[in-house]
Symmetry: C2
Subunit: 404 residues, 2 copies
């Protein structure tokens, strides 16, 4: 029986996790939930799962929740709120597995504390690795506990890595759908509208991640995550555009063998994998192999998708640069979605902010959060200085990254 | 350091094995070689590798080899011949790894004795599993030694299986190029010429295996091998036509995840894998992932490729049926290549021979060899009774095999 805490229980990954838990009642027990401001959803979850602890964003969310549950006759839960409450959920002594699915830097501290408390962590929060990967992976190593990725690409890599030892890995290949502008000429990038950018061909996702998919920055973040999670240098992580997104990722071994993973596109699958690792348990999520038809692949165009190149550079430099990359991207994407800057300005803003940021050495979550706040400030200044008429992003040679 | 014996050293797999050994002199030492009638090649191999024992098909091959080596000043090898010599090579006390690559039932006894002597065996001989799979796998289990497949499909499966435990496997997917008649209508099968059938689109191979690839019987044998080697029922092994033959095979796990393996098409890769398992060692056999373009898949047509259906039925029945399947196929293919029967008669001959064969229980290699000889007799009688004007193979529903 695994005793589970979910950080971000009312979000998409949180709800998928509870759906997995629901299907395997003999395996999992929900001990603690951290939600945000969605009191209605938190109420339903608390009523259904009766967690020992439940934490909300603030007291003004926790208090009405407590009252509604009391009225409904649901008792026995402890109510907490804010960062302290989230940390308590993440470190509760009865918990052995923590699903880290709070979006943004808000999840950083609690995830780090979960690892410090010796919990096994399933990671769905991107910032944990992009901004604080060194700290978190070092602590997990010290604790001797695995960090299990809950996203299709890194989960696929994790599965493929079982085919050998880490020192036998030549390269990790992350697949990318290519986003809505895979076939759009770079010359048209400056005039891409918000509506076009939000129209992702494959998935319905949140607005920021949809834009990050359109710029391929999302894939850039995944490159950084892979480096941190699996302890490999950036030049050992490559991206392959695969529009069908059937193969979720691949691992190339030193002997020349390549293992690839695929499955239905359903987040419950990597969640189930992480929750039951190193076992695999039976599910009804079957990929119809007999219906396989055609899989296409092509290298990414790094001249067009400048964000991906920026991510490689930040991964190489490390430290404050990846914190700045993430923070600047969040600000730039928000500015694009507000109509303040153009699509082609997004990498421009990020590049300038990252250039202004020292690599430094971030030795605590507090330092990471400070670096993040500074980078946001810089990004906002950049956005103010930018306009829709900004010049196109300078073309860059892809040779360095593609070459061996 | 692995001390190696090769059964079939002058054949294609044998020569590839020596090429691998050549590349990793610090890892491998050649202790014993069993060749056939190719004295010239055996001479070069003995001169290069100075094995402690070398065995040839007969005394009239061994004796000239001994003399030529003596003249060349190469001494220190023991010369043997015949089945006894092959067994001695396979069981030599200084050997720990045996590559079983003698084609046909000739390799059966020596491979079985190698397993009985506690050697780790790399299997490239199909008959070992198709005709005597139960005996050989049971003995390997008793010895606690792995049987490592040296062919791209089963080697791929072996690699993918590392992603979970055997009891977590839902299904094994063997890929098939589909052969030269993938797109030929069944109505034209009766008039397929020897030249057409020998013209395989992807590989240059021996004549029998080329015809077996054209009828898909080769894939049928692989289904049987997979059942025996990995201990799974026939309905858990499925075939997927994949004309590019990039993905060598796949394993589907109970949770819904599928792992696939690919690599360059070079037999040295599975050989290297088997020789170094559970390690992986660096090679220069790199698949150019960046050049990946399109992979196509489709289910096999079992109405057209009757041989594949026969293989499934024999796999289900087991015992003498798979011995008969292999023996009858060898005779039928030889008859087709001599022009005695037509292409569409091949499955007819095999079906009748298998139908005439009792399942029985084969408890020794001797019994397997007797069953094999009987099936060949029956097949020859069938061939004599057949003619090029034989009626087309009856159409069969694919439903049973494809269904769940």
């Amino acid at each position: 029986m695994r005793h589970i805490a979910i950080l971000g229980s009312t979000g998409s990954i949180g709800r998928s996790t509870l759906s997995v838990v629901e299907s395997y009642p003999e395996r999992f027990q929900v001990v603690a939930l951290a939600a945000g401001r969605n009191v209605d959803e938190a109420f339903e979850q608390a009523r259904r799962w009766k967690p020992r602890v439940i934490s909300m964003a603030s007291e003004s969310d926790a208090e009405p929740l407590r009252k509604r549950l009391k009225t409904a006759g649901v008792t026995g839960s402890e109510f907490l709120y804010g960062a302290k409450g989230t940390v308590r959920v993440a470190t509760h002594p009865d918990v052995d597995f923590v699903v880290s699915a709070i979006v943004g830097v808000a999840g950083l501290e609690a995830t780090y504390e979960a690892v410090r408390a010796g919990k096994t962590v399933g990671l769905a929060n991107k910032e944990c690795l992009v901004a604080a990967g060194g700290l978190i992976t070092a602590e997990a190593k010290r604790q001797g506990k695995p960090l299990l990725p809950i996203d299709s690409e890194h989960n696929a890599v994790h599965q493929c890595l079982r085919g050998g030892r880490m020192e036998e890995v030549e390269r990790i290949w992350l697949t990318a759908s290519g986003g809505p502008f895979l076939n759009t000429p770079k010359s048209q990038f400056a005039s891409i509208t918000i509506e076009q950018a939000l129209n992702h061909p494959t998935w319905k996702m949140g607005r920021r991640i949809t834009i990050d998919s359109a710029t391929l920055m999302n894939k850039g973040f995944e490159v950084i995550e892979a480096c941190r999670l699996f302890g490999v240098a950036p030049d050992r992580v490559q991206v392959m555009v695969h529009p069908q997104s059937t193969i979720h990722s691949m691992v190339e071994f030193v002997d020349g063998s390549i293992l690839a993973q695929f499955s239905v596109t359903d987040m419950r699958l990597p969640i189930l994998y992480a929750l039951t690792f190193p076992e695999r348990v039976s599910s009804n999520m079957r990929f119809p192999v007999m219906d396989l038809r055609t899989l296409d692949f092509r290298p990414p165009d790094l001249e067009k998708f400048h964000c991906l190149r920026l991510a490689y550079e930040a991964a190489e430099a490390g430290g404050g640069k990846t914190v700045a990359l993430n923070a600047a991207d969040e600000v730039a994407v928000a500015a694009f979605l507000e109509g303040s800057i153009g699509f082609a300005d997004i990498p421009q803003v990020i590049e300038r902010v990252v250039a202004q940021t020292e690599v430094g050495k971030l030795e605590s979550i507090q330092q990471v959060l400070e670096a993040d706040a500074e980078a946001r400030q810089r990004a906002r200044r950049q956005v103010e200085g930018s306009s829709r008429s900004a010049v196109a992003v300078p073309a860059v040679a892809a040779a360095r990254w593609q070459g061996e």
